[in-house]
């Protein structure tokens, strides 16, 4: 490991860490200022995946140890697997309990499909 390589890794690591911190800051601002649940979810997802991956890359470039880096990869993969699940559940619960503002939606395919289902079949999901 030449010192030049280490310096370059440190610089990239610093940039990644700053980028991740900026994403966390942007998520906070977005969560505070956005008007409804879906917009806040949109803001909150940025540091959850991209920001976290940036921070982990920065940490990995700084640590430069095999075992720790693999653990960081594990964290990133786990977060990528679980973030969609959590977002899906939050979004579905919000939609079904009326937390979504219809006037802010550009297109609402779920309402249309639900209407089709309810007029066609006996299944009603309103109370779930």
């Amino acid at each position: 490991m030449t010192p030049a390589w280490e310096t370059a890794a440190d610089v990239v690591s610093v940039i990644c860490l700053l980028g991740g911190a900026f994403f966390a800051f942007a998520a906070g601002v977005g969560a505070l200022r956005f008007p409804d649940l879906l917009a806040r979810m949109h803001a909150g997802t940025k540091p959850q995946v991209l920001g976290l991956v940036l921070v982990l890359i920065g940490l990995a470039l700084r640590l430069r140890e095999g075992g720790a880096v693999w653990a960081l990869v594990l964290v990133a993969v786990f977060q990528m697997l679980t973030a969609p699940v959590a977002a899906h559940m939050v979004g579905r619960a919000g939609f079904r309990t009326g937390k979504v503002r219809n006037d802010l939606l550009v297109v609402d395919e779920l309402s249309r499909d639900l209407d089709d289902t309810q007029s066609g079949g006996p299944r009603r999901d309103e109370d779930v």
Partner: protein, 185 residues
Amino acid sequence: MSPFDVVVVVGGVLLTLGAGFAIVRAEKGPSILDRTVALDIVVTTMIAGVALYAAYFRRADVVPLLVVLSLVGFVGSVTVARFAAVEPEGEGRVRTREEVAAEEAEKRRLEQQEEEARRRRRRAVEDEVRVAEDERRAVEDERRAAEDETRAAEDDAPVAPSSRDTIETEPDDEHHGGPADEETR
């Protein structure tokens, strides 16, 4: 390593501001789902903060902490979303004392109505039973008057009238007398 100190300070300030804004949203959030999203952001910020700490001190031993934190964030948000799915309309709002009182009064009124309706229904059924009994008694009196004239072979012991209270519009058996309290022998 002075430049890295600056980076850590700037990153720490950004993370703190982000977490602070998210906490403000968690306090304000009109529904429980908004609070969940905000607290998710706080957990992610905590992960980033721990990562920043580990990067500053080159400590690889706090990496398991990152795994644990990401696990906790996922489980927490999914659990809350699951419970919010059965949340009725307007449940996430904190009600004022007047609203709670009005709701209680409404509930009590409904209960009273229900009770009243039940009592009225029961009274109607009792009236019906009484009318049927009167009818039956009239028929029986008539029959006994007719029987008194002939008064021949005496009856076997009258059966205990266990089914008096049920509706019995006409006597189905001609051979034994009426109920025991009306027996005149």
